[in-house]
């Protein structure tokens, strides 16, 4: 005889789960009791939101499913932001929530909330398990749905009596999940792929526009191989960074609102846009009808609903990025030279390089560049959201996929620190840095407790400008410098870290940046760096809201 709780823990282990992030509470007591003697490692976070982000960071860094656990009501509700973050960025996590006993469901019982209802729009699928007998199957299905097709979060809600009830249960050795309503397409249509290749042969100015789909399908090698074989330049979205090494001659860096001038010019002048694992997000396209308006568009995505959603597409290819890129490469018979196009792009690159003033002032870009040099493209870099995120995307040289972890779609401040904890458990061999702003860091600062408790060696580099910097930037540029509620009082982050038993250092001079970063890297445990940076630095180039992406502010070589 096994309790539901035991079936759950066994199920998780059968899915290959080793670490879960959670927070106990009333209705999950039976599950925690089962965890007490289990070989599953449970990391006690300080707020459930952090559990969801940590599971998400784990999933992004490892390519496996991340798992978080919370109690009913407030516990479950605290997961919501984390689940929505994972949903927007297509990250596979399984969220487990306790629920009041089935006999009390719908009664407004203590700590009851309709979490399957609440998370309906932000999960790929969710379950309210009403019978212990279903549990084993539900776990199998949840993991399958979460990691296959377009990945996404799945929530399982477990009423207390489902966890405590004992039943005869043996896990089937190999149970195939077969869902008639869920059959993702992995292989692209051959005829469509041939059509795409034909277009590449006809094009004079082709451009690969790649995103998170390439990272999540582990298709970086295939992408770089196709780009090199054809000599087609590549621009990545925020989520696609790492798909091609930053210093690859064909890489144009990020496009969109804070993209490079040369990437945005290339999109605007391109005559063939090969979009792979992207969704034509508004932060990428700017004014939609001027985006790639000279180009025919090939769109490869595993989610058919993304194709044609925002932009009319000439050649839709539904399929997994990796499989499609592989097949494309195999089916290409001829080569074509795009030398004039590449030389035009080189001219832009030379004329409009990414740069900032090097005047001895401690600027955030400098801190990121220094870290980039020190780690030489190794390590895992997680960011918060806002200016810190954009500067990292612009100035850190990423060389590998899954080493850049950031909340793109939802733009969740407070994501980075807990996600960095998760990334550490996925890749304990790697140095993990959270590049933070003082605003974002304070949104999940309580996780200093977790990091200290388990000595999780996450390094936090706070680009402290005592502003909610990105909002302040918009106020400066578009609201006549009326800094309405964006200034923050000074906080002594080193003291706070010390109170948790964590070492830290404040840095106010450019000369101290490198030694401080070095010290953080060499410290075995967690480390907090408080960089007092130039307060009113802006992220440039910038496409104002609603403008065409080639109409950028800043980044000109004056």
């Amino acid at each position: 005889m096994k309790t539901g709780a035991k079936i759950l823990i066994e199920g998780l282990q059968r899915e290959g789960v080793e670490t879960i992030f959670g927070y106990p509470g009333g209705v999950v007591l039976p599950i925690y009791d089962e965890l007490y003697n289990s070989s599953l490692r449970h990391i006690l976070v300080r707020h459930e939101q952090a559990a969801a982000h940590a599971a998400d960071g784990f999933a992004r860094a490892s390519g496996r499913v991340g798992v978080c656990l919370a109690t009913s009501g407030p516990g479950a509700c605290n997961l919501v932001t984390g689940i929505a973050t994972a949903y927007m960025d297509s990250v596979s996590i399984v969220a487990l929530t306790g629920q009041v006993p089935t006999s009390l469901l719908g009664n407004d019982a203590f700590q009851e909330s309709d979490i399957t209802g609440i998370t309906l729009p932000i999960t790929k699928h969710n379950y309210l398990v009403k019978r212990t007998e279903e549990l084993g199957h539900v776990i199998r299905e949840a993991f399958y749905i979460s990691r296959t097709g377009r990945p996404g979060p799945v929530l399982i809600d477990l009423p207390k009596d489902v966890s405590t009830k004992e039943i005869e249960y043996e896990y089937p050795e190999s149970e195939q999940v077969n869902l008639r309503g869920y059959q993702p397409t992995y292989r692209g249509h051959t005829r469509q792929i041939d059509k795409a290749i034909e277009m590449m042969m006809e094009a004079e100015r082709p451009l690969l526009y790649v995103g998170g789909g390439v990272i999540s399908s582990n298709a970086s090698a295939e992408l770089v191989s196709l780009a090199e074989m054809m000599g087609i330049p590549v621009t990545t979205t925020l989520m696609g960074i790492g798909a091609i090494p930053c210093d690859h001659p064909l890489n144009l860096g990020m496009l969109g609102m804070h993209g490079t001038r040369y990437a945005n010019y290339a999109v605007t002048e391109s005559d063939l846009l090969i979009a792979i694992g992207v969704r034509f997000d508004d932060r990428v396209t700017g004014k939609l009808d001027t985006f790639a308006s000279q180009a025919r568009i090939i769109h490869v995505d595993i989610d058919p609903a993304e194709i044609g959603k925002n932009k009319r597409v000439d050649v839709p290819i539904v399929g997994d990025s990796k499989a499609v890129l592989q097949e494309m490469r195999e089916r290409i018979q001829k080569r074509k030279e795009y030398e004039r196009w590449l030389s035009r792009i080189r001219t832009w690159k030379e004329k409009f390089p990414m740069k900032y003033p090097r005047d001895g002032v401690l600027r955030p870009q400098f801190v990121i560049e220094q870290l980039s040099e020190l780690l030489a493209g190794e390590g895992i870099i997680v960011s918060e959201v806002g200016q810190n995120q954009m500067w990292t995307a612009q100035y850190y040289c990423f060389r590998h996929p899954r080493t850049w972890i950031t909340s793109g779609g939802l733009g969740t401040m407070g994501y980075g620190f807990p996600a960095a904890m998760g990334a550490h458990f996925a890749r304990p061999d790697q140095v993990v840095f959270d590049i933070a702003g003082d605003g974002s860091f304070q949104m999940n600062i309580q996780e200093l407790g977790t990091v200290s408790h388990y000595q999780i060696p996450v390094k936090v580099a706070i680009l402290n400008n005592r502003f909610l910097g990105m909002v302040r930037q918009w106020q400066e540029l578009f609201y006549d410098r009326r800094y309405s509620y964006t200034e923050l009082p000074a906080v002594d982050f080193v003291k706070i870290a010390n109170a948790y038993g964590i070492d830290g250092m404040r840095v106010e001079d450019t000369n101290d940046v490198r030694p401080a970063l070095q010290a953080a890297i060499e410290t075995d445990g967690p480390f907090i760096l408080d960089f007092r940076v130039e307060r009113e630095e802006n992220v440039f180039p910038m496409v104002p809201a609603g403008a065409a992406i080639n109409e950028m502010i800043g980044g000109l070589n004056e």
Binding site: L128, G181, Y182, P304, A305
Partner: protein
């Protein structure tokens, strides 16, 4: 922009209807009419949805519906040769006398049935397409429609074709 009739085959599980309708409201699509019930397959239900939108919007609705795990098949049968029906129950003021006779006459023209007769009201049951029910309702207004209950539209293809076999 024209009405499209979507026939959606779903798993007969709790919560499926709210997944489907939630998707419509969340993505800003309007439902004109909706009908749901069991179907020829024991563990499935069929939802018939009429919604208005341009081709791109309808395509997006269908793709988003298809993403729901519990949705098995989505078919737009607007262009297919089909039979559509709605059912309405209409309670009409009918004082004994001439108006009652007129109402019964109208009912017989529309092949509506009188399913309840009270001292001052009658209840009509009518099936047909939207236009027919609208027309009957309009005619009955002059007598006083006290209450009107109407189902969503259901539809089936003509001939041997089925929604499941249609593309």
């Amino acid at each position: 922009m024209k009405p499209h009739t979507l026939s959606v085959l779903v798993e007969n599980k709790p919560g499926v209807l709210s997944r489907v309708t939630g998707l419509f409201s969340r993505r800003g699509f309007n439902i004109e009419s909706l009908a749901v019930g069991t179907c020829e397959e024991p563990e499935m239900s069929r939802i018939t949805i009429v919604c208005i939108g341009d081709d791109a919007q309808i395509e997006q609705v269908m793709k988003q519906l298809n993403k729901l795990i519990d949705v098995i098949k989505v078919s737009d049968i607007t262009e297919n040769d089909r039979v559509e029906r709605e059912l309405a129950l209409i309670k009409v003021t009918a004082e004994p006398g001439s108006s009652r006779a007129e109402i019964m006459q109208i009912a017989s023209i529309f092949r509506a049935q009188i399913i309840d007769v009270g001292s001052r009201t009658v209840v009509l049951s009518v099936t047909g397409d939207t236009e027919k029910i609208d027309a009957l309702e309009k005619l009955l207004r002059q007598y006083g429609v006290k209450e009107l209950v109407r189902t969503g539209k259901i539809a089936i293809l003509r001939g041997t074709k089925t929604v499941k076999s249609a593309k």
